[in-house]
């Protein structure tokens, strides 16, 4: 390889590495049926249709974080909503992967769902099940 091509290749790799974090990795296609089973992990604290230890999920998509009327959210979650956090596929994916990292101070003391496919399945289920 000539010196010019070597430099170009190195530059390409360097730029690519720098840009990687900025490139959104698309979630795999989710299966709502598998997602419904995964939702069973949420049953200790959540339901679709009522508030429990966690807020109800009905109407989740498009809802500002921390905004279910009457639910005692953490200050962190309320603030996140006031700062513009709205629940959609992308924000839910980030939150479900690591809740305490995405919203530091959330009361959702749950380590997260690390598997991309499982998160995609769960989000696909939630998208269907939470429509009002």
């Amino acid at each position: 390889m000539t010196r010019g091509k070597t430099i170009s290749a190195a530059l390409f790799l360097t730029l690519g590495a720098a840009l990687m974090p900025l490139i959104a990795v698309a979630l795999p296609k989710g299966d709502p049926a598998r997602g419904e089973k995964i939702y069973g992990r949420c049953f200790a604290c959540h339901a679709i249709d009522r508030d429990r230890t966690g807020p109800r999920h009905a109407g989740l998509f498009g809802r500002r974080a921390g905004s279910v009327p009457g639910f005692p959210y953490s200050k962190a979650m309320k603030k996140a909503g006031e700062n513009g956090l709205v629940w959609n596929e992308e924000t839910l994916d980030k939150f479900l992967q690591n809740p305490t990292k995405f919203v530091p101070g959330t009361r959702m003391g749950y380590a997260g769902i690390k598997d991309d496919q499982e998160r995609a399945d769960l989000i696909a289920y939630l998208k269907q099940a939470t429509k009002e």
Binding site: C42, C45, K75, A76, R107
Partner: protein, 194 residues
């Protein structure tokens, strides 16, 4: 529903469930928590957010709901012996979990969450028409509890708390398995729980 061996429990009047003191054998970790292990004094004031105290309080809220759920199930008139006695025992164990969690929250300088009034849990009682419905509802809550503790344990900063939470998780998993068996389902469906 398949026949299962259920040890003979003391019979209780339906409305006397919460009369039990909830005194059960504690794990070594739980004893350390209640005995004022100095290592636990690291966190003093309860902080808002995902502190160990916050995680414990979330677990406490779920345990209080479980106590209330078993009360509703038992008072529904749908549970027959020996299943009714089983529900009473499981409820008493959730009460023991709640008592331990509340004591630990206080010991760490926090304020334990207060149980809701029964009506404020809005349990889906209209969907509970048979014993199997009640057991299925209970099983879903127990499975949820297993998953919740699995998700919480990695987050505890204090490893003694993580150990105590693991002890509770084990109990919830046993409840789930017994309820599944009572419903005629394989009691241990998979090698790993998530």
């Amino acid at each position: 529903m398949s026949e299962i061996f259920i040890p003979q429990f003391h019979a209780f009047a339906r409305r006397a469930f919460l009369a039990r003191s909830g005194r059960v054998a504690l794990s070594a970790a739980a004893v350390a928590l209640l005995a004022g292990n100095e290592a636990l004094a690291v966190q003093t004031a309860a902080k808002e957010g995902t502190s160990d105290v916050s995680i414990l309080n979330t677990a406490l809220g779920a345990e209080q709901e479980a106590v209330a759920a078993y009360q509703v199930g038992a008072e529904s008139g749908l549970l027959q012996k020996p299943v009714l006695d089983l529900a009473v025992t499981f409820q008493s164990q959730h009460k023991a979990h709640a008592d331990l969690l509340a004591s630990t929250v206080k010991k760490l300088g926090g304020t334990p969450v207060v149980a809701k009034k029964p009506a404020d849990y809005h349990f889906p009682v209209q969907k509970l028409k048979t014993q199997a419905d009640v057991l299925g509802f209970a099983a879903s809550l127990e499975k949820g509890a297993v998953s919740a503790y699995l998700g919480a344990i990695p987050l505890f900063k204090n490893r003694e708390l993580a150990k105590a939470a693991g002890s509770i998780l084990g109990d919830e998993a046993m409840h789930w398995a017994i309820l599944r068996q009572a419903l005629g389902q394989p009691p241990v469906p998979e090698a790993f729980v998530s």
